[in-house]
């Protein structure tokens, strides 16, 4: 007997030295230099405390574990102890346990199956706060098994006499529906009843849950529209109104008649509310309605005008948040009612200069609708200034793709000077680290091919790029800007007649650094080196400059093999074919045979862009049956073989 008493005194004395949460935090802060070791020591202490019988001690240990979890320490090994603390009859300890469970339990926590009866007991406790913490915990760690086993208990709580419990139970039911969908059907009538609960908090919770359900499955909840309509016109609870109005925005695409009915009450709210959050959501939903309803409505234009007018007020506000949201909503209207938004062009363009990057990005989204022949160049100039000042590559890339988008939209509708556009593209190649190299290259090709008038200018720009290729080759792996060399090489090779100094360009293309470029670019180089050679050859043969031709040919024979060493198959193949051809040319030159015409014949004809649907327009030749077998029809013996195989496998 004395031994037991002594042990108890000894234990109590030891417990006096247990750190509580505050002590532990203080300790961690005082041990910044050896935090890892200190925490390891703390963990050991916690493990000892968890072995004690006294629940208060365990609870204290679990509180500390919660803090350590926030610092990235795994505490799932203590799951069983956490359950012990959860099962304490004392609220103080129980809530510590449930908090820890919410923090670290998940679907893979095996010991959770031990909790079902305990949680059920807590849910049905006469102490409201026991049930409260149980519900709060469940909302975080509910599993399919728990959902199935506790669905009825939680459903019953939806009718509790205490609004505090009703509110929480309703929110947990949503989690139950997610994990155990069979619960939805029996629970739904009760949930629907709660939409008319006398307590506004409970009502809100019901609206919240039904809105979430409806977002997942809008069709099934259209029938609730009248109930929500009534709530919308009678409630003064802004949170609830916002949820309902957002829900309507999601439902109107499915039921345009609903949309038509909404315009009036929403318009009234827009005029009457002083809550910006509500105003904004009303505008959003009105926009959604007007987009989904065909413009046969009489109040259509007036409603759009009202929205645009209100959004303008938001965008003009000094509050950056309102500006942001205003621009966000404007971009939705722009898609279907561009003219209404264009009236506010100046305001939107001024947002491009806002110091807030989020706002500039939203203004960029609206840009494609604000551009015209008159202002395109000015806008592009402004964007390029922004690009120079931009800090992040993501924002800069966004600007780049925007510039190209507005320039090329509707088939370059707003470009009045293509030479200007080519210079813009060339200037964009000075951007380091962009991921849009291919985009720029594509534009260069498109413009050079389709706009004959500026070909001369384009070719001279491309030749300069090839001359300065070493700058672009440098970071070829990380830097997609070298893609423009793909375009430059092709353009110079295809339109050689515009080159000022073809030889110099050819030499540039044969420089050894070129072999550092990505394979697909080198392949284009090889092909166009030949094209360029052929064009120079033709001219030289006419002029009878045999020595020049010999030197030129030898230069190719000397430099081309560098490409045949490439690990890229395409480059290898093209290089080998080219080298072979050059050897043949050398042989013929040795016999004084003119070769230019034959070589040129290899590259005869113009390459024009092909429309995507062009293939379909090609008529099928007479007598060709595309459905006929190409080979002989398989004989019956192979069919029998298949049957046998099927039998063996079944």
């Amino acid at each position: 007997m004395a031994n037991v008493r002594f042990k108890k005194v000894k234990d109590n004395l030891e417990r006096l030295f247990d750190k509580n949460l505050t002590d532990m935090v203080r300790g961690i802060r005082n041990n910044k230099d050896n935090e890892g070791r200190f925490i390891a020591q703390v963990m050991d202490e916690i493990k000892v405390e968890l072995k004690q019988e006294n629940v208060a001690v365990k609870a204290n240990a679990v509180t500390k574990l919660c803090y350590l979890q926030m610092l990235s320490y795994d505490i799932s090994w203590a799951a069983f102890n956490i359950i012990e603390v959860m099962s304490s009859p004392k609220f103080t300890f129980k809530r510590i346990g449930y908090l820890a469970a919410a923090q670290c339990f998940h679907d893979g926590t095996d010991v959770m199956m031990l909790t079902t009866n305990m949680v059920r007991k807590d849910l049905n406790s006469s102490n409201m706060y026991d049930a409260g913490v149980a519900l709060a915990g469940l909302s975080c760690f509910l599993t399919c098994d728990l959902a199935r086993d506790l669905a009825n208990d939680i459903m019953t709580l939806m009718a509790s006499t205490k609004p505090y419990i009703r509110k929480k139970a309703i929110l947990v039911m949503y989690k139950v529906f997610l994990k155990y969908p069979d619960a939805l059907r029996p629970a739904f009538p009760r949930l629907k009843e709660k939409l008319e609960d006398p307590d506004p908090g409970v009502q809100s919770a019901a609206v919240n849950v039904i809105c979430e359900l409806a977002r997942r499955n809008p069709k099934n909840y259209l029938s609730l529209a009248p109930v929500f309509f009534k709530l919308m016109t009678s409630s003064t609870n802004n949170w609830m109104l916002i949820k309902i109005i957002k829900l309507f925005g999601a439902l109107t695409p499915l039921e345009p008649r609903l949309g038509k009915k909404l315009i009036e009450p929403l318009t009234n709210l827009i005029h009457s509310t002083s809550a910006m959050s509500l105003l904004y959501e009303c505008i959003n939903t009105v926009i959604a309605v007007l987009i989904s309803v065909s413009s046969g409505m009489p109040s259509h234009t007036a409603s759009i005008q009202l929205c645009v007018q209100k959004l303008r007020i938001l965008i003009e506000d000094s509050d950056q948040n309102l500006k942001y949201l205003g621009l966000l909503a404007m971009s939705k209207i722009l898609k279907t009612h561009p003219k209404s938004v264009q009236a506010h062009k100046d305001l939107i363009l001024s947002c491009l200069d806002d110091k807030d990057e989020s706002i500039r990005l939203r203004a960029l989204d609206l840009l494609y609708g604000m551009v015209s022949k008159k202002n395109l160049m000015e806008i592009v100039k402004k964007l390029m200034v922004h690009m120079e000042r931009a800090e992040g590559t993501m924002y800069r890339d966004e600007l780049l793709s925007k510039i190209i988008e507005i320039c090329q939209q509707n088939n370059y509708q707003f470009i009045t000077n293509f030479e200007w556009y080519v210079s813009v593209l060339v200037e964009l190649t000075r951007l380091e680290g962009t991921k849009h190299g291919q985009l720029i290259a594509g534009q260069m090709l498109d413009v050079a091919i389709r706009v004959q008038a500026i070909r001369h200018f384009a070719v001279s720009q491309m030749a300069t790029l090839l001359e300065n290729a070493h700058v672009l080759v440098g970071n070829a792996q990380r830097n997609s800007i070298c893609e423009v060399l793909y375009a430059a090489a092709w353009i110079c090779g295809e339109f050689t007649e515009h080159l000022l100094d073809p030889q110099s360009t050819l030499k540039n293309m044969l420089r050894s650094k070129v072999t550092n470029l990505p394979g697909h670019i080198q392949a284009v180089y090889v092909q166009n080196i030949l094209k360029l050679y052929s064009s120079i050859l033709v001219k030289a043969e006419v002029e009878g400059d045999r020595q020049f031709i010999k030197d030129l040919t030898e230069m190719l024979v000397e430099k081309l093999p560098a490409f045949s060493q490439s690990s890229n198959l395409e480059v290898q193949e093209r290089a080998c074919s080219a080298i072979q051809m050059m050897k043949y040319v050398v042989k013929l030159l040795g016999k004084d045979v003119p070769v230019a015409e034959e070589v040129q014949a290899l590259f005869a004809g113009e390459l024009n862009p092909v429309a995507p649907k062009a293939q379909k327009k090609v008529p099928v030749p007479e007598g060709l049956d595309l459905d006929a077998w190409i080979n002989e029809v398989p004989s019956s013996s192979s069919e029998e073989e298949e049957k046998e195989e099927g039998g063996a496998n079944s």
């Binding site: 919660c66 102490n127 929480k168 929110l171 919240n208 949170w239 959050s277 904004y280 950056q320």
Partner: protein
């Protein structure tokens, strides 16, 4: 739905984290780090909405945050939540903390993060907004504090 609530200081140290979806501890820390990087480089004069990062973002998610002195309060939410509404809610959360701790400061969160979690659980539950009225929230918190005091005194 709210996907996560993060409170960290001007140096990125977490003061309260609440995830409403399971992530490993390592992922949680990466999310905190990434969120801090996104949010901390913004001036106090710009708007409080950000597209999310790559870890906790995704096309339907936004970061909505407020910066109070040394602390950032960040809510990661999907499109079912009202942006301005959530901003208001953050304000309610902070005002509630202020009421419960009497002129709350970062140290209160450092030493009493458990109490802060209990307060938060009266506002947001399972990623859904539970209560927005500050008086109602404080009433419930005070009742539970009283219950705790009673149990301690019995001991």
């Amino acid at each position: 739905m709210i996907k996560a609530i993060l409170v960290f200081n001007n140096h990125g140290k977490p003061r309260l984290i609440k995830f409403f979806q399971y992530y490993s501890e390592e992922t949680q820390q990466n999310i905190i780090r990434e969120t801090f990087q996104l949010v901390s480089k913004r001036d106090d004069s710009v708007c409080n909405f950000l597209e999310g990062g790559s870890l906790i973002g995704g096309s339907d998610f936004k970061l909505i945050y407020r910066h109070y002195a040394t602390l950032y309060f960040v809510f990661c939410v999907d499109s079912s939540e009202s942006e301005l509404g959530i901003l208001d809610l953050i304000q309610v959360f902070v005002e509630t903390l202020d009421k419960c701790f009497e002129n709350v400061c970062e140290l209160d969160l450092i030493f009493h993060v458990d109490k802060v979690q209990y307060i938060l659980s009266e506002i947001v539950m399972g990623g859904m907004v539970l209560e927005t009225n500050m008086n109602e929230i404080v009433t419930q918190i005070e009742a539970q504090n009283k219950l705790e005091k009673q149990e301690v005194s019995i001991n």
